[in-house]
């Protein structure tokens, strides 16, 4: 029982979702499988919502422990825990209609903390793309050199200043993006699709069980 039921659940819901994308009602009306598949995707949202609570328990345990034992950096952990509580309470108040004060505060907190900190982390990529290029693009061997020249040609073709140097850079860059780039993307995608299919199939059919953490 303990082993079989999870495998049956996986198989049944997986097949419903898959078959709903292949078959349809003969008369063009509403199709029962499509309805169930839609229902199941809603269920995923619900179950995932519960999982957020579970994962948050982990945050509370790890950082609660640090605060309780006054380990180094406990002030940071305390900040983290306080932020969870404050954002959760204000967010819930705002979302469940506690009035415009909470809605506005929630929006301001999002706009001035979560959103700019996220944008700043994302923007760090500009620095890292520069240092990665500096470190990695050395003509160590043929492969590395090919990669380096392709990257430089495309950069010169994209920046307005490239055109000032030589007006053919943009068309070279376009060709590189359209042809060799597409070739690589396509082939890697085909290979990965075959691998992804086999992995999903083994799980769907219960041949692979490791993802459930082994068998007790």
């Amino acid at each position: 029982m303990r082993r079989e039921i999870p495998l049956v659940i996986t198989f049944v819901v997986g097949m419903i979702v898959l078959l709903a994308r292949i078959f349809t009602a003969a008369d063009g009306g509403e199709f029962i499988l499509a309805k169930w598949a839609g229902e199941l995707t809603d269920w995923v949202i619900i179950v995932s919502a519960f999982a957020v609570g579970l994962a948050s328990v982990n945050l509370f345990r790890i950082h609660g422990d640090i605060v309780a034992r006054k380990r180094p950096g406990w002030i940071n952990s305390l900040t983290l825990l306080a932020a969870i509580v404050v954002f959760a309470v204000i967010g819930i108040a705002a979302r469940f209609g506690a009035g415009p004060f909470f809605s506005e505060l929630n929006q301001n907190l999002y706009d001035s903390i979560i959103s700019p900190l996220g944008a700043a982390m994302f923007a760090i990529l500009a620095f890292y793309i520069a240092s990665a290029a500096y470190r990695a693009f050395r003509m160590r061997n043929l492969e590395a050199s090919v990669m380096l020249f392709a990257a430089i040609l495309v950069m010169l073709g994209r920046a307005p200043v490239g055109e000032l140097i030589w007006n053919q850079f943009p068309s070279i860059a376009n060709w590189l993006v359209d042809i060799p780039n597409t070739v690589g993307q396509r082939a890697i995608m085909i290979g990965a699709a075959i691998g992804g299919f086999a992995t999903s199939l083994r799980i769907l059919l219960g041949i692979e069980r490791g993802h459930l953490g082994g068998v007790e």
Binding site: D111, F122, F127, Y134, A159, P160, V177
Partner: protein, 271 residues
């Protein structure tokens, strides 16, 4: 010279130079000439041919993370539409979208343009692809109150709008999914709307097939697309200034690659 050391140059020097190379031209633009591509010209011509008094729909499908690449496009097209007297309606299928709609409106409200007449923000509709489909077929049926909580039926700009075919053009400013692909699949295909796209740079190759097939009439590509649009419409603005920063940023990175390789070869020769 110590070539080894130059090969492993402190990366912080790269970072500081990159900040300088991008911040300085933002404060003092250099006006490096910018050529404009056929795709942007086509985009401009389509938008410019829309007569005053008509309305267009902006689907603002991006979040703060992708905004630096896409929002400037919306700004540039918005300016063009306001100058022409074409009404703009905003909708979003991303939670953060309506905030950008408000940002676009703010400057014009200060100049005396009127909410509900020249523009309206219909807010966010959850539900991704299926929401886009339903909204495409029945605008008023999906959104009864706008982002500012006015009944949509009370807005003068929304009079006579039943489905998305009633807009002279629909422009999806998109940083991913749901976005251009969903608009093509669910609305452009079935209804044949006049669909244009503003895309983040990374998505451009992915959307090219739709442009080739004519499902997307024209596309702006990233920040450069915005800068070209500003140039074509004769109002060089913030995006054009940013292109100077782009040029210097690219040059700095290329210069570092070259320096790194010189150091690499000189070091090898010495050994």
């Amino acid at each position: 010279m110590d070539w080894k050391k130059l090969q492993n140059i402190d990366r912080r020097i790269i970072y500081i130079l990159l900040i300088l190379a991008t911040a300085v031209p933002m404060i003092r633009p250099l006006a490096i000439p910018l050529s404009t591509g056929p795709s942007v010209h086509k985009f401009y011509q389509i938008m410019d041919a829309i007569p005053a008094g008509e309305k267009v729909l902006f689907s603002l499908d991006y979040a703060p993370s992708g905004a630096p690449d896409v929002h400037p496009q919306a700004l540039a097209v918005m300016k063009h539409m306001m100058n022409k007297g074409v009404g703009v309606v905003f909708i979003s299928f991303w939670e953060a979208g309506p905030m950008f709609g408000e940002q676009l409106i703010r400057a014009y409200e200060e100049q005396g343009y009127e909410y509900g007449v020249h523009f309206a923000n219909l807010g966010y509709v959850p539900g991704g692809e299926s929401a886009i489909k339903r909204f495409g077929e029945d605008v008023a049926g999906q959104v009864s109150r706008d982002f500012r909580n006015n009944p949509v039926s009370s807005l003068p700009i929304m009079q006579g709008i039943k489905d998305t075919r009633d807009f002279a053009a629909v422009i999806c400013f998109s940083a991913g999914n749901p976005g251009v692909q969903e608009w093509v699949r669910q609305v452009q295909g079935p209804l044949g709307i006049n669909l244009l796209a503003g895309a983040v740079t990374v998505s451009v190759p992915q959307y090219m097939p739709y442009v080739d097939a004519g499902q997307v009439k024209a596309m702006l590509a990233g920040l450069r697309g915005a800068a070209e649009y500003e140039t074509v419409s004769g109002n060089p603005g913030p995006s054009v200034a940013k292109m100077d920063a782009q040029s210097l940023g690219h040059l700095i990175i290329i210069a570092f690659i070259i320096v790194g390789n010189i150091a690499f070869f000189m070091d090898k020769k010495k050994q």
